[in-house]
């Protein structure tokens, strides 16, 4: 395989976000990856294989659950939860990880490199690699390893090597730095499974493509269960993979689309991960997008109780859709997310991930704005966050 140019669009929206700002060493691997991705999508046998893995291993389709008690609490007519928390490994991340692992195998790569923040992508990549017999190495910041310890243990049980990243704040940004470096060193043998709709082309497009199964299923399930579409669709946004996965299939519909960022514990730079208000266009990790940065173009520190949302850049496609007015981006604070997690536990018997709780936290706001029925992406389950819930909620 030897692609010489990209054939898919590399840019998003009127601002031309995205692109491929990669070191030369990674350019040929990225060109080859785009070609492999295009060929796989055109190959019925790949689609059959992926569909079968999603059904029999991942557990798709995931249910759409009507959350009537929680809806009533806020005076919503209907609230529907797209249950990515019920996938194998417990978050939407497995949709993309499994698809890219299959792609890597097609490309003849025997090793996988991945980064992880909350650990959900790392666990998903580890599980997919165990199933396909690929060697897997996951880079994870030391802060995240401490706050998402159960996921570190799960990765190790699946035979994955977890490499602690000490640099900086020890969170997702540093993990991506280290994964990119590792990929540059091993790009002849390894495929890098990026876990969100981030990074240089073709990653944002590829990850979004593998995640839109969420919204496609949810749209059909809404029509089946309620005979109509919701008034609003909402998801949380770290890099933006579950958000795009849920929202993109609704872009042609006359309804409101929301993505929720981490408001952290304050509005000053360094106290949150709210890129829409706090960020400016810049380049990080291979793409141009909304970026939290200081006046010198150095990446700013971020803060969030949720490891999966604690990242300084919004994925370029989601940022472009936000800037072009197609998706509204809101924020929820640490405290709001913690409270929202309790609502779902007490009203519906479902323990959400801290990331997903950020979307739940905006339900009162949506009700206040007059939306009657809401579809919410429950991107993951909260088992990994039990120790945070225990210490913060005193239970």
């Amino acid at each position: 395989m030897h692609a010489t140019e990209f054939l898919l669009p590399t840019r998003f929206g009127t601002g031309g976000l995205g692109g491929c700002y990669a070191p030369e060493t990674l350019m040929q691997p990225l060109l080859d990856l785009e070609e492999a991705f295009r060929m796989a999508l055109d190959d019925p046998s790949f689609r059959v294989e992926l569909k079968s893995e999603l059904r029999h291993f991942v557990g798709r389709p995931t249910p759409l659950t009507s959350a009537t008690r929680l809806a009533a609490k806020f005076g919503l007519q209907g609230l529907f939860l797209k249950r990515e928390d019920l996938t194998h490994t417990g978050a939407h991340k497995i949709n993309n990880a499994m698809a890219q692992a299959l792609l890597a195998r097609r490309m003849g790569k025997s090793e996988i490199i991945a980064e992880t923040g909350a650990g959900q992508h790392g666990v998903a990549a580890a599980a997919a690699c165990a199933r396909l017999g690929l060697k897997c190495t996951v880079y994870m910041g030391v802060t995240d390893m401490a706050r998402q310890a159960p996921n570190v243990a799960r990765m190790r049980l699946f035979g994955t090597k977890v490499v602690p990243v000490e640099a900086g704040q020890g969170t997702l940004k540093e993990a991506v730095n280290e994964a990119l470096r590792a990929w540059a060193a091993r790009c002849d043998k390894a495929h890098y499974i990026l876990g969100s709709a981030l990074g240089p082309h073709p990653f944002p497009t590829m990850v979004r493509t593998f995640q839109t199964v969420i919204g496609e299923e949810a749209r059909a399930q809404m029509l089946e269960q309620t005979v109509s579409l919701p008034d609003a669709v909402i998801a949380c946004a770290g890099g933006g993979s579950n958000g795009l996965g849920l929202l993109v299939p609704f872009l042609g519909d006359d309804l409101h689309r929301f993505a929720v960022e981490a408001g952290g514990h304050g509005s000053a730079l360094g106290e949150h991960a709210a890129r829409l208000d706090g960020g400016r266009l810049g380049v990080l990790h291979g793409c141009k997008t909304l970026l939290l940065q200081d006046q010198h173009g150095h990446t700013a520190e971020t803060a969030s109780i949720s490891a999966g949302l604690d990242y300084p850049a919004l994925g370029p496609e989601l940022a472009a859709l936000a800037l072009d007015g197609k998706i509204e981006v809101l924020r929820a604070s640490d405290a709001q997310a913690l409270e929202a997690a309790q609502w779902l536990c007490e009203s519906e018997g479902i323990l959400p991930a801290l990331e997903s709780s950020h979307a739940l936290a905006l339900l009162p706001e949506l009700a206040k704005r007059g939306f009657a029925t809401v579809l919410l992406g429950l991107s993951g389950r909260g088992d990994k966050d039990l120790s945070t819930y225990q210490s913060k909620l005193g239970i």
Partner: protein, 249 residues
């Protein structure tokens, strides 16, 4: 032929020491030198240059302060500003040109900027006399190399080495001292590149000892000393001592 292309990180060991280091390099006969503008997220750098960048940032070596410190320096080799795109993009092409004019900077090497991505920005700098140096890596095959060299052309023999050379990345991965880089494949790549271009070549990433430097010179290319120099300077070594032994052979 240019014997050695050193790399130092602006602001490490200190910004105040920079003019003195550059003057020493010039007195030693160094024609061109890469000067790193520290970035918070150096994705193509190994531990030594990462640490140097973070120390430099902590000591206040912002892009503006570095460029202001370089303004008006005459006792300096020609400089190649080695950095990542975002700090430059935030300054913007027009203001960046104003800042570059009074400095010894002659060209830029922006690790995460392929020639397709910011065409307008790059053209503005090139037209004003600040070309981007092309990088050629082990994953760059000869056809791709031809395209890269054409799109970032040699301004010609009337121009200094700093503006003419192409940078051959010796190994997969990031900058650093690490394991000794196997130079046999590099020799082949350099020969293949010389067959398609008259341009001067520099070879860097992973070279540290005098033997490796001599081996690169024997290929007809200029060796780059980066991490090994930065580490030695950080340990309190003197630039002249570190470079002198590596300039010959």
């Amino acid at each position: 032929m240019n014997k050695l292309l050193p790399f130092i990180m602006a602001g490490d060991p200190s910004l105040a020491a920079l003019p003195q280091l550059l003057a020493e390099a010039k007195a030693l006969g160094i024609e061109a030198l890469e000067i790193g503008l520290p970035h918070s997220d150096p994705i193509a750098d190994g531990p030594v240059l990462q640490a140097a960048a973070h120390r430099a940032i902590q000591r206040g070596a912002t892009p503006l302060r570095v460029l202001e410190m370089l303004a008006g320096l005459t006792e300096s080799p020609d400089l190649i500003l080695f950095t990542y795109l975002n700090p430059l993009l935030q300054i913007g092409a027009d203001r960046l040109l104003d800042l570059l004019w009074p400095t010894p900077v002659k060209a830029l090497l922006v690790v995460d900027l392929p020639d397709s991505e910011e065409a307008e920005f790059e053209a503005k700098l090139r037209t004003a006399g600040f070309p981007m140096i092309p990088l050629l890596s082990p994953t760059t095959d000869i056809e791709r190399a031809k395209g890269l060299l054409e799109r970032r052309p040699d301004p010609g023999p009337g121009h200094p080495f700093a503006q003419r050379f192409a940078y051959v990345v010796a190994r997969l991965g990031v900058t650093g001292t690490g394991d000794t880089t196997d130079l046999a494949p590099v020799r082949e790549r350099v020969a293949a590149l010389k067959a398609i271009s008259d341009r001067p070549l520099a070879v860097g990433f992973g070279l540290s000892d005098s033997a490796a430097m001599a081996e690169v010179r024997a290929m007809g290319a200029t060796p780059v000393i980066g991490s090994a120099l930065v580490q030695a300077l950080a340990n309190g070594g003197g630039l002249v001592d570190i470079l002198r032994s590596r300039m010959n052979g």
